[in-house]
């Protein structure tokens, strides 16, 4: 039961900064999902935790032990890579036991751990096959088994499912959750898929341009994104971001959007509202819809297009100059071109500064 602590990590490849002072604490048994667009430095962060890159600054510790200068093999971490990382000339069994051979684990113990991991991941029948003879899902199971037999202090997952198709991805996601819950080691799970991150992470860390922008439970990050980038990145469809102006209406802060005035009596301001300043209003698609109790009318809007997801319908609407997406019911009974009355739940609104992109 050890924690993983990354403190002020810095890494540059020539003139490109990959990690710009990143700190992250992962508690024992916790799984932190790290998301961000490609090139944001998330894989570099994982490589730094694993010891696969030489840092320019910062400290990595596992269970209080400083491992910054240690080789990957000396850290007692396991890494599951995206793909292609199985040893191509070895059987699945040899792939799983290779690390134990390298570390001099007695043969009988290695065999026992192999059998246990193989049973847990249901790969007993394919242990004598080479990676080339395995399907994508089987390969990833073997890779997870290889990570598991080490009984690591920290699991590091580097986009392990991104090369698989959607159905397999959902299966293996459960597998990873199950395996991780059993081991109770801390885990860092890197992915570019925000839905996967939300589904797996005890907490979510969102990264951009070598920095972590926000860390929190999936619900916190989804409901209270700390920057406009996080708001847009986490959640599908993307959060609607609409420029507006802050005003005061009868002493209550409100938003001015064209002809509309939207009062914000309950908003949890992180700084005192300043009437007159421009803001960006962020609203989730599911907080926009037909008028109902507690929602505030946004007026009539033209339906531009409809996109049924099955469970509900995403409607693209023209709101003055802006285009927004609303989540309507499964059978909304409207067509493209229709005018519909739309209202929003403003208690769920987020406000950002258009210049700094920070939450207000």
């Amino acid at each position: 039961m050890k924690d993983l602590s990354l403190a002020d990590l810095r890494l540059a490849y020539g003139s490109v900064t990959a990690l710009d002072g990143v700190s992250l604490e992962i508690a024992p048994g916790e799984l932190v999902a790290l998301v961000g667009p490609s090139g944001c430095g998330k894989s570099s962060l994982l490589a730094a935790a694993a010891g696969l890159v030489d840092l320019d600054g910062g400290r990595v510790s596992i269970g209080g032990r400083d491992v910054t200068g240690l080789e990957p093999g000396e850290r007692n971490v396991s890494v599951v890579f995206q793909g292609l990382a199985l040893y191509p000339t070895m059987s699945a069994a040899r792939n799983v036991t290779f690390g134990m051979r390298m570390r001099g684990v007695p043969r009988a113990e290695a065999q026992a751990r192999l059998i246990e991991a193989a049973r847990l991941l249901r790969i007993e029948d394919i242990l004598d096959r080479r990676p080339a003879q395995l399907s994508g899902g089987q390969r990833q199971r073997v890779a997870i088994a290889r990570a598991l037999v080490r009984d690591p202090d920290a699991f590091l997952f580097d986009e392990p499912l991104s090369s698989l198709d959607a159905a397999l991805r959902a299966d293996l996601r459960d597998e990873i959750r199950r395996v991780h819950a059993r081991t109770q080691a801390c885990a860092l799970y890197v992915t570019h898929d925000q839905a996967e991150a939300m589904a797996l992470g005890d907490r979510l860390a969102v990264m951009r341009a070598g920095r972590i922008l926000q860390v929190g439970t999936p619900r916190e990050v989804y409901n209270r994104p700390q920057t406009a980038f996080v708001a847009g990145f986490v959640g599908a469809p993307r959060m609607n971001l609409v420029p507006a102006r802050l005003v005061a209406e009868a002493g209550v802060p409100a938003l001015e959007l064209g002809d509309h005035r939207l009062p914000l009596p309950g908003y949890a301001w992180s700084e005192p509202p300043e009437p007159g300043r421009p803001v960006v209003l962020g609203l989730r698609a599911e907080d926009i819809g037909r008028p109902r109790l507690g929602s505030h009318s946004l007026g009539a809007m033209r339906v531009v297009s409809l996109e049924p997801t099955g469970a509900d319908t995403l409607a693209r609407l023209a709101w003055g100059e802006a285009a927004i997406v609303a989540r309507l019911e499964r059978d909304p009974g409207v067509g493209a071109g229709d005018l519909v009355e739309i209202a929003a739940d403003l208690s769920r609104a987020s406000l950002f500064c258009p210049r700094t992109e920070r939450r207000l």
Binding site: S78, G83, A85, R103
Partner: protein, 286 residues
């Protein structure tokens, strides 16, 4: 849908004809060498060059091996074979081993100065040997290795290395870095990764490197002539045998000598052939 029956089109016929012709052109000299080496001298003087031997004989082979006279000594090419083997085997092993380790280090590890080292390798690959004869001669003299087997081993390792490094570098650059990263996490070090993980992948390219290096070093004439000393490799002796001015030209013995000298390299190609074509495409060899 039924598979279309393969049928010769005019274009395909042309390709096959061209290939056949090219094959003929390449194989004809070998054919002449073989048939001439197996004829008595009289049959060569009287008959056609292309005619197969009527009275087969291995006497020319035997004579080229152990009886033909080069200058005053009449011991054939036998002694040169030993010299050539003593040079070629360690030089092939050395240049291939250096290429393997360097190619691996250049692609899978971050080394200071790796780019410069690789640039030098490229330059070394286009360096004409004639240009380095004098500096190499001076260096060997200073090392006390001029005219020795060890000296030629050193020269062949040094000048074989740029090519093997390039060959292995081009091969290892295609190995996904995640494999090496996984092995590092599994606790394998620099040599452990090379031996346990990468070497088992490398048979095709090893076969290519060994075959090419063996051929180049075994067949080398320039370095052998200049640095060969009093007990030169077989290529130098073959030349001396053929250009010996005294007496009748024994074409059959000369051809037998050519056949003997060419045989080891041909044998190595044949043995490596299983992996050779696959390795060539993997390593991007010239």
């Amino acid at each position: 849908m039924r598979a279309r029956r393969a049928r010769f089109s005019a274009g395909e016929a042309l390709v096959w004809a061209a290939l056949g012709l090219a094959g003929l052109v390449f194989l004809l000299p070998l054919y002449v060498v073989i048939v001439t080496a197996l004829k008595p001298l009289a049959a060569i003087v009287d008959g056609s060059m292309l005619a197969p031997p009527r009275d087969w004989t291995i006497a020319p082979l035997a004579k080229a091996w152990s009886g033909a006279c080069i200058g005053a000594s009449c011991e054939g090419l036998r002694g040169g074979f030993l010299t050539s083997l003593r040079i070629t085997l360690p030089a092939v092993a050395g240049s291939v081993a250096i290429g393997l380790v360097s190619g691996y280090a250049l692609t899978q590890w971050r080394l200071p100065g790796a780019r410069l080292a690789f640039a030098l390798v490229i330059v070394a690959n286009v360096l004409p040997y004639q240009a380095v004869l004098l500096p190499v001669a001076l260096t060997l003299r200073r090392l006390g290795l001029f005219g020795t087997v060890e000296g030629l081993v050193l020269v062949h390792i040094a000048y074989g290395m740029p090519y093997t490094v390039l060959l292995f570098r081009n091969f290892f650059i295609g190995v996904p870095p995640e494999i090496v990263a996984a092995a590092r996490v599994d606790g394998a070090g620099f040599w452990g990764i090379l031996i346990h993980v990468l070497l088992p992948l490398s048979w095709p390219i090893l076969a290519v490197a060994v075959a090419l290096q063996f051929t180049a070093i075994w067949n080398d004439y320039l370095f052998s002539l200049v640095f060969g000393g009093p007990n030169p490799p077989v290529t130098v002796r073959l030349n001396n045998l053929i250009n010996d001015g005294v007496g009748t030209k024994e074409y059959n013995v000369n051809m037998a000598g050519v056949l003997l000298v060419a045989a080891p390299a041909l044998l190595v190609y044949w043995l490596a052939g299983r992996w050779f074509v696959r390795g060539l495409t993997l390593g991007g060899a010239r």
